[in-house]
């Protein structure tokens, strides 16, 4: 095979691979995003998906999804209260509750009891999205709640 022909074959294979790989990646991404519902969509939420035109909700959504966990923990009680009162049905804000709940379970040594109480109550009374499976975290949170009772 001449070097020119080898170059053309290799180039063709590269182009075909790029097109096929991109298409498969797009298809998988759409399928995963669609199957996960609000929670999964929020997990991969881009800047545009967090924007609503309501500055307060946008900031809460940033806290829920993008903010470092330390910032979310620091503002956690206020975040949970605002979610309860003003935006109880916003699916993306539940991502913040999910992050807080799992953080409290993973690092019990640093549990702030006020935050623990409100996260427990929010999950128990707030009807979280089923796909987040927060019911599975609740027993551990309630154990922590009992263990930290004064």
């Amino acid at each position: 095979m001449t070097s020119r022909r080898a170059f053309l074959v290799a180039g063709g294979m590269f182009t075909a691979g790029t097109v096929l790989g991109g298409a498969c990646g797009y298809t998988i991404g759409v399928a995963v995003g669609g199957a996960g519902g609000g929670g999964a969509a929020a997990a991969g939420a881009g800047e545009d998906e967090l924007k609503t035109g309501d500055a307060e909700l946008d900031e809460l959504r940033r806290l829920a999804v993008k903010a470092p966990i330390e910032e979310l923990v620091r503002l956690g009680v206020a975040f949970c209260r605002k979610r309860d009162i003003s935006y109880p049905s916003d699916a993306i804000l539940w991502r913040g509750i999910d992050r807080l709940a799992r953080h409290l379970v993973q690092d019990p040594s640093a549990v702030d009891r006020s935050l623990l109480l409100v996260v427990c109550a929010t999950i128990e009374r707030g009807s979280p999205p089923a796909e987040l499976r927060l019911d599975g975290v609740l027993p551990e949170l309630n154990s922590l709640r009992k263990a930290t009772r004064k």
Partner: protein, 87 residues
């Protein structure tokens, strides 16, 4: 948004049917109480610079209450657990 309880004095546990006594700052004129997890917000007018005694709403034992003093950027939140009086 301010973190919870900064500069706020009050109990963390109250019995059902009891009162929540909170210390107020010189500009605090309202206290808002609501149950964690959702529900209505009750606003109580208070006299600034003193203590306020706020009756515990009719909630079951184990309920968690937000007590917010002040509004806007100056708001502070106290989290209070309501314990059952039945043993």
């Amino acid at each position: 948004m301010q973190g919870a309880g900064e500069g706020l004095r009050g109990p963390t546990v109250v019995p059902q049917g009891g009162t929540i006594v909170v210390g107020l700052g010189p500009n605090d004129t309202t206290v808002e109480i609501s149950q964690a997890g959702g529900g209505p917000v009750t606003k109580v007018k208070v006299e600034p610079g003193k203590q306020a005694s706020i009756p515990v709403p009719n909630v079951p034992g184990g309920a968690v209450l937000y007590v917010q003093i002040g509004t806007g950027a100056r708001a502070r939140i106290l989290v209070v657990e309501v314990i059952s009086t039945l043993n």
